[in-house]
């Protein structure tokens, strides 16, 4: 049977996210409770979490989380990493025995910084350099998979129900100012750890529910700009789209949202002339970046969290606020179980983003 990346597997899902906008850190216990309430929305074939602010002592280093299938590929990959990066610290990621989690790969973590002299010749930023190296490992080192590569953040994922994955990685021992989570319902059983969500590149992480119908169009578009969609999943291509538009092209995030969930032409025509021209230009130039078909996503990045629905809301998404916290989830109950009395709870419209960013100076 082909594994993820060798074929395209549609999947349904549950998603949840919490951010403390003041930047106060809290353990993974709440997010596990939230996602586990939506147990029925996943089928035990994938669960995962992204946590921001977990490595304050290494905040200036890229934290690589890597799955290895065997020691041989581990050695080859480490040779590559050692050639291009200075490794500040490395070790296996601590895990706990959980009966339902089987077939675990080797799971390693490295805190690294790009070697300065390697950067000088290539005239690119350290972020671009790092992202290219990550894409290269994932593309060329069969059996190795970098599943997290941001600074002061990390992804934890695997094959199993999300609550079991959370327990396996002992997420109650990590403290983050923002958590996102994903429970997966794939329509196939490849059982590959790399195929679980969230998907990340640098500090961008995406958890996603839906099956986008524009996948191949989006994929071909990002691949023109150096990305390589190794997993053939929606989440991967969505993450690359955000990374490309927001980081590579430096497009402001509110515009990126108007590209990815573009307003209808009929809506654009109602705007004033200047805005009309701008929206028209964005749709014209980035037509292939429009994500079509059902999706609800939670995007995490260093500044905070953005939750977004497709433009005709074909997937559920609920948002709530309480004091300094913002919650989003596939179902209202998944918020209420950890925040029984929110200040405000609402159902964002299609294409209307929920933007919950860290307050100034809280990063």
């Amino acid at each position: 049977m082909l594994k993820e990346g060798e074929l395209r597997i549609p999947s349904g899902c549950a998603i949840s996210g919490i951010i403390d906008r003041k930047g106060r850190r809290f353990s993974g216990e709440e997010i596990i409770r939230s996602i586990s309430l939506m147990h029925e929305r996943s089928n035990g074939l994938g669960g995962g979490f992204a946590a921001y602010g977990i490595y304050p002592q290494y905040k200036d280093f890229y934290a690589f989380h890597i799955f290895y299938e065997n020691l041989n590929i581990k050695m080859q990959t480490e040779d590559f990493i050692a050639k291009y990066f200075d490794i500040e610290n490395a070790g296996s990621i601590p895990t706990k025995h959980v009966p339902s989690i089987t077939n675990k790969p080797l799971i390693w973590r490295y805190f690294v910084s790009p070697r300065i002299h390697m950067l000088k010749g290539s005239f690119i930023s350290d972020a671009e350099f790092t992202s290219r190296c990550v894409i290269k490992i994932n593309k060329d080192y069969s059996g190795a998979y970098v599943f997290s590569s941001g600074k002061n953040m990390g992804t934890f994922k695997g094959v199993g129900y999300p609550e079991a994955i959370g327990e396996f990685f002992m997420l109650d021992t990590y403290k983050a100012y923002m958590w996102t989570a994903h429970g997966r319902f794939p329509t196939n059983t490849p059982g590959w750890w790399g195929g679980a969500h969230p998907f990340t590149i640098l500090d961008w992480s995406v958890v996603h529910n839906g099956e986008i119908s524009s996948y191949d169009t989006n994929k071909r578009f990002v691949e023109m700009y150096g990305y390589k969609c190794t997993l053939q999943t929606d989440t991967e291509v969505i993450t690359y789209l955000f990374d490309m538009l927001a980081r590579k092209f430096s497009i402001p995030m509110e515009k990126v949202i108007k590209i990815i969930a573009a307003p209808f032409w009929s809506e654009i025509e109602k705007e004033n002339e200047e805005l009309q021209f701008e929206l028209k230009s964005m749709r014209t130039v980035y037509a292939s970046a429009l994500i079509n078909g059902p999706f609800s996503i939670i995007l995490g990045y260093e500044k905070g969290m953005i939750a977004l629905n497709d433009r005709i809301k074909l997937r559920s998404l609920v948002a709530a606020t309480k004091d300094d916290r913002t919650y989003v989830a596939s179902e209202e109950s998944a918020i209420r179980i950890i925040c029984s009395n929110p200040d405000k709870i609402w159902f964002p419209g299609g294409g209307d983003p929920v933007i919950a960013l860290l307050e100034e100076g809280q990063k």
Binding site: S213, D216, L290, N292, I312
Partner: protein, 501 residues
């Protein structure tokens, strides 16, 4: 002169019981197939002149006429077919190059018919275009690599000119001369009402039609017929015609008998002279020359008009297309070997060029690999027969399509393949005033509007079925396609999977 070996191609069958000798057929047939014998009060026929255009059949009030394939057979021979024999009779009699009209009729594979579309089931919902918005609008033109915004979020990038189409369909280049004034007017009016474009072809533009400029693409071909500054500025975009699918490697042909007063004035050539365009543009002998022509046209029109470059689909179309994008074209037009024509040498029409489906897939793939696909639009032509051909073309990577044959069929063309004679009984491919007036633009433009509107509805249905609500999300979305009855190599060139995969 030796004995003519000509035999009729069609047999005109008249049901004498039904015929009322009204002589409609006599008056309608410009090929003089029918004649009335007053003495015997019968209508007679001369089969050999019949081209099977159905004009008489359609207008016969008592349905007394049927046209059949002429029953005379040669001895069966799979190699020496009747066509092969008749062509030799013709050439040995005239010493001339065989001429044909319309597109390649040979039994080459039609890839559109070997590609199947996807639809959503369970894992994502299909979208109902009767109840949800469904967008088919597209923008044709050059796209900057990226958009830049200032710190306040204001757009800084200057946008190159774009042609806005309400649906990804345009009417192909058909020159005034090859087709009639009334046919041109019908195309122009339909394009205007539909919010799409028609194309002047290489015969210039009658000043009466400048008012349809916003929906007109003006063409510049190797003969430069009717090209002047006002003409270039009259349309919304300019198209440089390098080649045509029906006759790659050679220029346009307009027989002198189609060049009357008005055509002569529009083309800026003498009345009655053959308008034979040179095979190449004599100012384009290489890709760098093309760049110069593109930019001279842009200079002339103050960079307000996108410039398209049209080529025929030939073996190395992908490399040529890449060169065209890099030369600064705003859109590439690729015309497949089934593309129609008013007149082309038969041997060229039937043997030169490649299918548009393969050329399109190869070009789109090449431009993606080079990272330049987003810079220019890609328009394909060369026998787009219906809305599913369009959907498949877009999924293979096209931004839009041109339709020529389908448009003239909507105007009444019955595909008799004799445009070059100038005796089109339907008033389309003719300049005979008596025939031209048979095509009433007030009525016929609506048939074009109907056709494109119907196709647009069908495109919306198919898009919705795939769970897509904007056509740009289908462009290059080859996962929506599956092949059937294709070999590995064909699947590879098309970049699609086999049905069941």
């Amino acid at each position: 002169m030796s004995l003519s070996f000509d035999i009729p191609v069609f047999e005109v069958v008249r049901n004498e019981k039904r015929c009322i000798q009204c002589q409609v057929c006599v008056r309608q047939c410009f090929n003089s197939v029918h004649s009335y014998d007053e003495d015997d009060n019968v209508v007679c026929t001369d089969d050999i002149k019949c081209v099977n255009c159905h004009r008489c059949v359609t207008l016969c009030p008592t349905r007394a006429l049927i046209i059949k394939k002429y029953p005379l057979e040669f001895r069966e021979n799979t190699n020496w077919t009747s066509n092969a024999i008749k062509e030799i009779y013709k050439q040995s009699q005239t010493g001339g190059v065989l001429l044909s009209s319309m597109g390649n009729p040979k039994a080459f594979p039609i890839y559109w018919d070997k590609i199947l579309l996807n639809a959503s089931q369970v894992t994502n919902p299909s979208i109902d275009p009767l109840r949800e918005p469904m967008e088919t609008k597209i923008m044709i033109g050059r796209k900057p690599e990226k958009l830049d915004f200032d710190v306040k979020g204001k757009l800084l990038t200057e946008m190159p000119p774009q042609v806005e189409l309400s649906t990804p369909i345009m009417f192909s280049a058909m020159s005034y001369g090859s087709i009639s004034r009334n046919a041109h007017e019908s195309l122009a009016r339909a394009a205007t009402e539909l919010g799409i474009c028609y194309n002047t072809g290489e015969g210039g533009l009658n000043r009466d039609f400048y008012k349809y400029g916003k929906n007109t693409i003006v063409q510049v071909a190797s003969g430069r017929f009717g090209v002047h500054k006002e003409y270039l500025s009259a349309g919304i975009a300019i198209e440089i015609k390098i080649g045509q699918g029906a006759k790659p490697g050679i220029g346009g042909h307009l027989p002198g008998k189609k060049v009357g007063e008005d055509v002569s004035a529009t083309r800026m050539i003498p009345v009655g002279s053959d308008a034979i365009s040179p095979a190449p543009h004599h100012d384009i002998y290489s890709i760098e020359d093309l760049r110069q022509l593109i930019f001279s046209l842009k200079e002339t029109t103050s960079y307000k008009k996108p410039v398209f470059v049209k080529i025929a689909a030939v073996h190395n179309a992908a490399a040529i297309a890449s060169g065209i994008v890099r030369a600064g074209a705003d859109a590439i037009v690729v015309d497949g070997f089934r593309g129609g024509t008013g007149a082309a040498p038969t041997r060229v029409r039937d043997n030169v060029g490649i299918p548009i489906e393969l050329a399109l897939a190869a070009i789109d793939q090449r431009l993606v690999e080079e990272g330049i696909r987003n810079q220019a639009s890609l328009i394909v032509a060369g026998s787009i027969r219906n809305s599913s051909d369009i959907v498949k073309a877009v999924a293979l990577g096209a931004d839009a399509v041109y339709v020529g044959s389908a448009a003239v069929i909507a105007l009444g063309c019955h595909m008799c393949h004799t445009c070059s004679t100038g005796k089109c009984n339907w008033g389309i491919a003719t300049q005979e005033p008596e025939l031209v007036k048979r095509l009433n633009p007030d009525i016929m433009y609506k048939r074009l509007v109907n056709l494109v509107s119907a196709w647009n509805h069908e495109i919306q249905e198919m898009l919705g079925g795939m769970g897509i609500n904007a056509i740009e999300s289908l462009r290059g979305n080859r996962l929506m396609l599956r092949g059937i009855d294709l070999n590995e190599k064909e699947l590879k060139v098309l970049g699609i999977k086999y049905a069941g995969e």
